[in-house]
Amino acid sequence: MTDGPAAMPGWLIVTASFGYLTLLFAIAYYGDRRAERGRSLISNPTIYALSIAVYCTAWTFYGSVGRAANTGLGFLPIYLGPTLAFALGWLVLRKILRISKTHRITTIADFISSRYGKSHLLGGLVSIIAVIGIMPYISLQLKAVSTSFTVLVSYPETEPLLATDVPLLGDTALWVAALMALFAILFGTRHIDASEHHEGMVVAIAFESLVKLLAFGSVGVFVTFGLFNGFGDIFARAEQLPDLAPLLSFEAAGADWLPLTVLAMFVVFCLPRQFHVTIVENVKESHLNKAIWQFPLYLLLINLFVLPVALGGLLLFPEGSVDADTFVLALPLAHEQPALALFAFIGGLSAATGMVIVETVALTTMVCNDLIMPLLLKFAWLQLAERRDLSGLLLGIRRVAIVFIMLIGYLYFRLIGETYALVSIGLMSFAAAAQFGPAMLAAIYWRSATRRGAIAGISAGFVMWTYTLLLPSFAQSGWLPLSFVTDGPFGFALLQPQALLGMTGLSPVPHALFWSLIANFGALVAVSLADTPSTIERIQATLFVEANRHRGAAAARLGTLPGRVPVSKLIAMSERFLGRERTGEVLGEYARNANVDVSKMPFATGELVQYVERRLSGAIGSASARVMIASTVQGAGVSLDQIMQILDETSQVLEYSRQLEQKSKQLENVTTELKAANEQLREVDRLKDDLMSTVTHELRTPLTSIRSFSEILHDSPDLDINERQHFLSIIIRESERLTRLINQVLDLTKIETGKMKWQMSDVDLADVIEHSLTSLSQLFEEKRITIERRIQPGVPTVRADRDQMIQLVINLLSNAQKFVPAGWGRIVVSYQQTGDGVRVSVADNGPGIPEAEQTAIFEKFHQVRAGNTGNPGGSGLGLAICRGIVEHLGGRIWVESTPGEGSTFIFTVPFAMAETASDTIATGSADGEATAARPSVA
């Protein structure tokens, strides 16, 4: 039955694999590009649910069948757990989600460290455990890729080659690992703020989830309906064999069912990668509502064919001739379906790459923020203090860490991975991640849980895990004597690592889980109860446990550091970690939301400090952010104890009469909202009133001349022809002025309200300048103004609206000609490329602008009325429009001038911004998502 099929050529598999990975890069690249243009792909609940399906790794893909072949329904708990967690525990997930969003949490280590008083120690501990615990899991994926490759190439020789037999450079796994590292670097470390979304990566992961589902489903359909006559046929034939019949009942699954289900419930939010896709990459809380059924549905679909494929393999292959872990590949190969086998291989590859990429990014963020950053801050403080911008350094560290983690994963696979079955390695990692479960649950539901309690719990759990799972695995790899497992250390039978205190009857993983969680919970509860938490712990505990109550502004008020923080220091510190541009954006965002002018505040409000601290948390983790913020505080204001007291008092009152409180709170909210709305309306009214009065004034002025001269002409029939002509020309000029003014008011309103239609195209500004000069040439000639051009040739185009650019340049030129001295006026127009954009300047030899006026002239209706020049005759809107145009394109406009020596108006247009300033019609309606789409620094 198996003599027909031949091995598949290696080059074909390699080409297909790399082709697939290239496609993945392209998808991720596209996802990032879309995000930059503000048309996010991941703002979609189904993509979110698919990305959570990164839970299904190569272990699911190959190992589930292997496990089903041995234990029947025993493979199910791993999927039942997450299903239950999502269906029943979505309130838990939602709470974690809300807390993480409010506090800009970047990883599970960050979450735990932040809750327990922003503790460096705890964050570091969680990171180390995560790296040690998850490393085997990463190796497992590499092993799966390597093994499945070997199966395809060498079939029907099913004896898997030992990885160590393969020369290093000829090892597919190494190249796959290298490509994954590259992917993680390219799409996982784009922003310094790790709490921002990695859109491209998420889209790619969602795509991979589809591929692995389709691939596995195809094999399932082929086996079930191609090789057999449907589900009924397979089960009926299996039942007739005494070896296989037990697999169809719960018998084979045995006592492991319950513990494994609990384990899987824990890990679906404790595995670093699951925390990352479910919590950190979540775009909208509402997406969770769909994910709670879509993700379980996915699990159901991908598991539908596990049992049929396992039974099919057992029925068709002679006893033990083919490793059950490879049935997914071996079945199609044995029946001359190489294309299907190749598709299955790609499915397994996508399962592996998805897991490795997300896991690496999550681990790297942890290692960087919770291990390296605190150490750098502690030991290398002086050197760090001298460096101004650290954002590059941070990204560099993350990138190096990615390569490092991937390398360790690969080495682990070469050294130890070969001796263990897929399932055992995966479960071992699961059990390690589950150690974060107690601290996570206590974090959000038990206020009295303390930092020391969490450290004790996690440490105790980890020690038990090491003793009952890791050491025995070393023993089986021959690194420790096997007697350590069989007889207990030094012959103490009670201490046998896999039958502790004489507990037998559980397989190793449930056994380890039982003991480690008992130790973990026990230590957490005991130590927390005996402990007195510090103030910061109590504040964070309240904020986390009562997250639903202390959301938004209320949460921002609490947990603020006492004392005053000078804004300048805050900015300087933020610039070092986030970079200059990002800091500008962050402050701008804050200023817009809070409607304040940050530059005018000498000391930061508690709210602003909190805002910056959260942004910083996104980049360097909450504990480090707290240390850095604390370093900027001056003096002492309200003490933490006082804040806590306020918090406690309110909490007590709230607990006495929650209902009353809720009602009064609602009422209060409504009142505050009304008040705010009213205030806002009044403010708008006032501004409108001011503007209206100014506009009216500007309209009435030309109208006055027009009316007066019309009446004069009407009432004085005896005027001489010259005077009549003169008055008529005044009427015409003033009418023109009125028209221009009305147009400008409309233009400016359109720009300000975002209703301007921008016709974006690639514009050559040299051409725009030439065009503008030509259209004013007659005027220049009349006024005998010399024009000098300093145009740099070959400057690239920028994305802009050509007509608006012409209006902009003409405005500046006609402004200049108004002020130059009669008879010897001189205007110099320069154009050149700068680092990241272009720069245009218009210099005149007019009277100049006093420094006090240099900013104000860009305001609406502001005119410089120098003593003897009188009214320059402009509307006072030209420069405001210029500013509107330039700022829309992401550039800047300003004036440099020394009174008496002329003025130079300069504007810049960046290339980068010009690319992302999308060609949309409406702008200015900047909401949260639009800001997220901005390109990030670094």
């Binding site: 009065s693 009216t696 002025t701 006055t704 001349s705 009316r707 001269f709």
Partner: protein
Amino acid sequence: MPKSILVVEDEPNIVLSLQFLMKKEGFDVRVAQDGEQAIAEVESLAPDLILLDVMIPKRDGFDVCQTIRANPAWSHVHIIMLTAKGRDIDREKGIALGANDYVTKPFSTRELIVKVRQVLNGGG
């Protein structure tokens, strides 16, 4: 002897029209383009009437009006304020500061002349 009028206004075209109108009525017309110049003109020779624009450079019309009213020597000087700001509050402010009348731009030339005559006659 013709009555003298000081036009205080910074818009050259409005100055031109006021000058034309007042000259045609037979008044003696002088012009000031800003607040300081206006005070200087009054100091050099107090006119019978000032057509005083509110929005002028340096010292605004209200300021000029107040200054003139503060000096008893100029109590005979009549003031008609001109403004392009149509709000009632501006009118009230002008009257409160001692202006004899208040005209909103754009104005009817005939009505302006009537008002000028009334103010000059009423004041003696």
